[in-house]
Amino acid sequence: MTSRPIATTRSVMDVPTGRLAMWWVLASETVLFGGLLGSYVMMRLRHGAWADQAANTNTWAGAFNTLVLLTSSLSAVLAHQAAERADGPKAARLLRYTILGGGVFLTVKAFEWTHEIEEGFTITSGLFWSFYYTAAGLHAAHVVAGMVIMFIVSLTAARNEELHRVENVGIYWHFVDVVWIFLFPLLYIAK
């Protein structure tokens, strides 16, 4: 029962259906993170004293993670380039590097959070920390989801099938990267 409907093959807007759908996914994710981060910014601007709490985040871990995500975005777009050139196995390999990048990101996060919790900064330590864990946690959940989907896509891509999915999952991953690009200064730099 994996026959694709004819509907899926039509392209009246001149944008392939999968990519069109991914743009709409991004649109709804934009307002999700926008609402959360907007709320955080409002609260942060009101509570000037949060700078004291924010001083305890690990800027180097945050910066390293930013580097990791930027690099994984690079491998994701190179995977797309390979898919465009019909080189499925190469695209799959680059997707796996991207997944690895996600894994490194999460590992650093795990160490970071463990350290912070040991220091006594838990999600209930104060409203700054509540936002910190919630925002970064929601982002991390999206990282995990992206890794899972990318893994599934890499399996078919390795067989040179459904190569258009490489671009679409890449767009999602770049969005996850963009969210972190804003989370980093919000949580780590603004002190």
Partner: protein
């Protein structure tokens, strides 16, 4: 890549055909029946609490004595269920799923498996919500708007587990509709039949697509807010707690930033259904197609600028209150204009008062009353008095009831032949219609009056309010309750009609209403794959009583061979 015969399918079992299918028509039915089932629960809830209001302290038949806490749970669940588990699945998901591929001339949605997943998540959300009735403490009792600290603090709402299950159920429902919405929008944008330009798309499809986009654009902040609320409930964070530096008003804003566009998310599909029915039963072209589309888009955009009219007395900045008053009054204009356009369509038409048309006309009349009463509420000054009274409640029932109930019945009675291949009984339809409409007005007109007299919302027993515990007002409350009981008593007529027609109704032809849109060119019901040959489109959807033609309709898929009436292309007849 024009149509081909649907692939020969191996014989499927019951589960595969009805429970695990990816066919959009089956998924539509799943949403429709789930929504109708949830309506029974929501309807039972309102029966119980209105009986309590009419006969305070007395045991309610089929329920027993209503305690104050149970009253809170009942009103909360009624509101929550009717909006999220009845209006949205029936109007948006069921009609959207059924109609969009058919009206666009496709064989299915673009992502059938994601479509199936969206229903499954929706079903899970319904199960979670119903489960909340059975946990210790019972269902959430903090109102469907769930304002903290009441909703965040179990010591206040007394429904610790119900409160968290409520948030989880709502979040799952949001996820289901986000997935479904992406399917709708992508299909409508990319999969139209050859020849179908943007302004050849039927209005109901436009409306469902715009509604889906509105939903996608507005629900994000509330999902963020819901995560924060759940963390407040479960982990004891203080996002909404002033004692930790949080702000309860933040929740209100997050909620209503979504909550206001949400009413248009349900209104637009209902208006779309009415836009389909009126031309068919007046045999007249829809007046101002493009106006309707542009107005719907404009309404959607403006709907993002009005939300704090729900918070006029919450302590928001008065300057913002002035601003939101202006925007709220502005938004009444495009909606009123759409209603006028529908009336203009009727003018000079050859009107048949079949059951679907009766529902469509009553939508126009009743929604007009609802809209007009909203103007009083949109003015911040008047709202200081009227907020949280039954005037508000009567206003939004005069809008929501046409949307969720009248619009649904209009659509169901109109598309029943296409969905099930049989005709519904007209006489039973008319009895059900009149019984429902008269009863509906008997419920809510008294509530306008009690509201202006000062009846607060969400009060379990007015005997504690000397100014309100008067015989005159109690008489009105009882009248409203009797109206409700009559309303509920007449609904079995519909269910009887529905089931009997399903089983024994006269067989329906492909196009019993002699309509133009593409779904009527498929057989009744359409097979898997919808069309024997995928149609091509040659004109807009509302060419009724065209000049120089014998027939008073001109289906979209019929090629342009003048002057003789036509042998139709495609679809079983």
């Amino acid at each position: 890549m024009s149509g081909h015969a649907p692939p020969a399918h191996h014989a499927s079992g019951f589960v595969k055909t009805y429970l695990w299918s990816t066919d959009h028509k089956v998924i539509a039915m799943q949403y429709l029946f789930t929504g109708m089932l949830m309506a029974l629960i929501g309807g039972f809830a309102v029966y119980v609490f209105r009986m309590q209001l009419a006969f305070p302290g007395q045991s309610v038949p089929l329920f027993g004595r209503v305690s104050a806490g149970q009253y809170n749970s009942l009103v909360t669940m009624h509101g929550t269920i009717m909006i999220f588990w009845v209006a949205m699945p029936v109007l948006l998901a069921a009609f959207g799923n059924f109609l969009i591929p058919l009206m666009l001339g496709c064989d299915d949605m673009v992502f059938p498996k994601v479509n199936r997943l969206s229903y499954q998540i929706f079903l899970l959300s319904a199960v979670v919500l119903v489960a909340s009735f059975f946990v210790p403490g019972g269902a959430f009792g903090g109102a469907w708007t769930a304002y903290p600290p009441l909703s965040a603090n179990a010591a206040y709402n007394l429904t610790r587990y119900g409160a968290t299950l409520w948030v989880v159920a709502v979040a799952l429902e949001f996820a289901a509709f986000l997935l479904g919405g992406i399917n709708f929008v992508t299909t409508a944008m990319n999969s139209r039949a050859p020849g179908m330009r943007m302004f050849d798309v039927p209005i109901v499809v436009w409306m469902i697509v715009i509604a889906s986009i509105l939903f996608m654009a507005s629900v994000g902040p509330l999902i963020a807010g819901a995560v924060m609320l759940v963390f407040d409930q479960v982990f004891g964070t203080g996002f909404y707690d002033p004692a930790t530096g949080g702000d309860p008003i933040l929740w209100q804003h997050l909620f209503w930033f979504f909550g206001h566009p949400e009413v248009y998310v349900v209104l637009l599909p209902a208006m779309g259904v009415v836009a389909e029915v009126i031309p068919v039963f007046s045999r007249k072209k829809l007046f101002g197609y493009r106006t309707i589309v542009y107005t719907a888009v404009a309404t959607g955009v403006i709907s993002f600028f009005v939300w704090a009219h729900h918070q006029f007395v919450a302590g928001i900045d008065p300057r913002m209150a002035s601003l939101f008053t202006i925007t709220t009054l502005i938004i009444s204009v495009p909606i009123a204009e759409m209603i006028f356009v529908y009336i203009a369509t009727l003018y000079g038409g050859s009107i048949t008062l079949a059951t679907p048309m009766l529902w469509a006309l009553s939508f126009v009349a009743e929604f007009l009353l609802g809209g007009v009463t909203g103007i009083f509420l949109g003015a911040a000054g008047a709202d200081i008095y009227l907020h949280d009274t039954y005037f508000v409640l009567a206003h939004f029932h005069y809008t929501f009831f046409p949307i969720a109930i009248i619009g649904a019945f209009a659509g169901i009675t109109f598309w029943f032949p296409k969905m099930f291949g049989r005709m519904m009984d007209e006489r039973l339809g008319k009895i059900h219609f009149w019984g429902t409409i008269v009863a509906f007005n008997v419920i809510f007109i008294p509530l306008f009056i009690t509201g202006v007299a000062g009846d607060h919302r969400r009060i379990f027993d007015y005997s504690g309010f000397p100014d309100l515990a008067t015989p005159g007002l109690q008489h009105l409350r009882t009248t409203a309750t009797l109206g409700l009981v009559s309303l509920l008593a007449v609904q079995p007529v519909f269910f009887f009609n529905f089931v009997r027609s399903l089983v024994r109704g006269p067989i329906a032809s492909a196009n019993p209403w002699r309509a133009n849109t593409l779904e009527w060119s498929a057989s009744s019901p359409p097979p898997h794959g919808n069309f024997a040959e995928l149609p091509e489109v040659y004109r807009g959807p509302y060419e009724y009583s065209p000049e120089d033609r014998e027939e008073d309709f001109w289906p979209q898929h019929v090629p342009d061979v003048s002057p003789a009436p036509v042998a139709s292309v495609g679809g079983g007849r």
